[in-house]
Symmetry: C2
Subunit: 242 residues, 2 copies
């Protein structure tokens, strides 16, 4: 039983498609009084996917209009992100104040990599726990049947924004996330790439090969994914050829 007016939050990783929901995440969703999900506007495809999961488990979903975010590569990137976290937290806080209970957030993939949910929920100052999910990194590797590093070697997980600088600093085995501009196309040198878009969706696209040979295939596959799903999110492994 929840003390009157006192809420708790569960951050639940759900993997990259409904078949990747773990038994414990499914049980965690069922334990919630309701799920809060961001609504990014008419026809938000990720909201529709979350609705389907909640309907399947039998838990209500409360959609909350997502505050606008300045994505135009502002000079103060970190500051813009923090403002947006604050705005999201304020929007969720007003819902939870009206309706105390156990409140869930469903995180596509896994909350540990390039996801804001933990940082937003920290601002609510409520008790919370986190359940992991299958990450897009793991699904990328599985689809291409590769290990993300060579034997005993490291892998750097980074963003498209940082890729060119990371390579200049000497990295030769990298997983890139959040790259809306295929920054890999600008790299010098000889690389292999294992690329995927919309991993786990029915319109998932995969391309692998020598970077210089497959850049145009990747660009075409990106557009196919965007046309089919209404959104595109790509992730890739880059390894310098020896």
């Amino acid at each position: 039983m929840i003390e009157l007016g006192v809420s708790r939050v569960r951050i639940i990783g759900i993997g990259c498609h409904p078949g990747q929901l773990t038994a414990e995440s499914r049980a965690a969703i069922a334990s919630c009084d309701y799920i809060i999900a961001a609504d990014k506007g008419p026809g938000d495809p990720l909201l529709a996917l979350r609705r389907a999961i909640c309907a399947d488990v039998g838990v209500e979903l409360v959609a909350v209009a997502d505050p606008p975010r300045d994505r135009d590569d502002p000079a103060d990137y970190d500051g813009a992100v923090l403002d947006w976290h604050d705005a999201r937290a304020a929007a969720y806080d007003s819902v939870i104040l009206d309706r105390p209970g156990t409140v869930g957030f469903l995180v596509w993939g896994d909350p540990a990599f390039y996801d804001s949910t933990i940082r937003v929920v920290e601002r609510l100052r409520l008790e919370y726990d986190v359940l992991p999910g299958v990450s897009a990194l793991s699904l990328l590797a599985a689809r291409h049947r590769v290990v993300l590093h060579e034997v005993g070697r490291p892998v750097l997980v980074t963003t498209g924004r940082r890729l060119v600088a990371e390579v200049a600093a000497g990295h030769d085995n990298l997983v890139v996330m959040l790259d809306g501009r295929l920054q890999a196309a600008d790299l010098d040198g000889d690389w292999d790439i294992w690329w995927g878009a919309n991993l786990g969706s029915p319109h998932e696209e995969l391309v692998a090969g020598r970077l210089g040979d497959v850049v145009s295939s990747i660009r075409q596959a990106r557009e196919r994914a965007r046309d089919a799903d209404g959104w595109v999110m790509d992730t890739y492994l880059l390894r310098r050829r020896r």
Copy 2:
């Protein structure tokens, strides 16, 4: 139907405890004629866990004695690993030749990080697919309720063996796996650590704090985990304090 004498292999990520089995991995196990699992000797605890999962799903497990591996930090580390992959592949190959069909391998956590199964199965020259699981990295982050990197920043995933050199090269946010000697204890500087051992087991241990303050707590927790489970496997996030 499998063509007479022609086998296929499924490499199945199972997460870090039975509650982390995904719906698709469970279905993949059920689709196998049998599961092959390495037997590392009397009372092998990870073999027992795989047996329990197979019993639950209703698929036979065939235990195969694991070839010995030289773990004494040989000068030729890569060569020793490759020899061991060859020996494992030969052992599995003889089982599969005797008994063709759909053969599964259950990977604790996820096959994409510091796991040999994909590399061993490649040597069998059979058709195979890979299903991802919840990785120990994701579970570590969930238990400590942290994101594995700062906003928009990278994370280096590496091994204990390489940690000191990676830090000397300037890395300040690292996830360390396969560290049997708590190499972090040798680092200079001021660090935060989020540490876990035997993540997902009933005797899981977690410690977080300023590295210099918690090294002895970690050593004690490591011994508790080893005593309770008969094995110890630790994973940690290290971040330099600003």
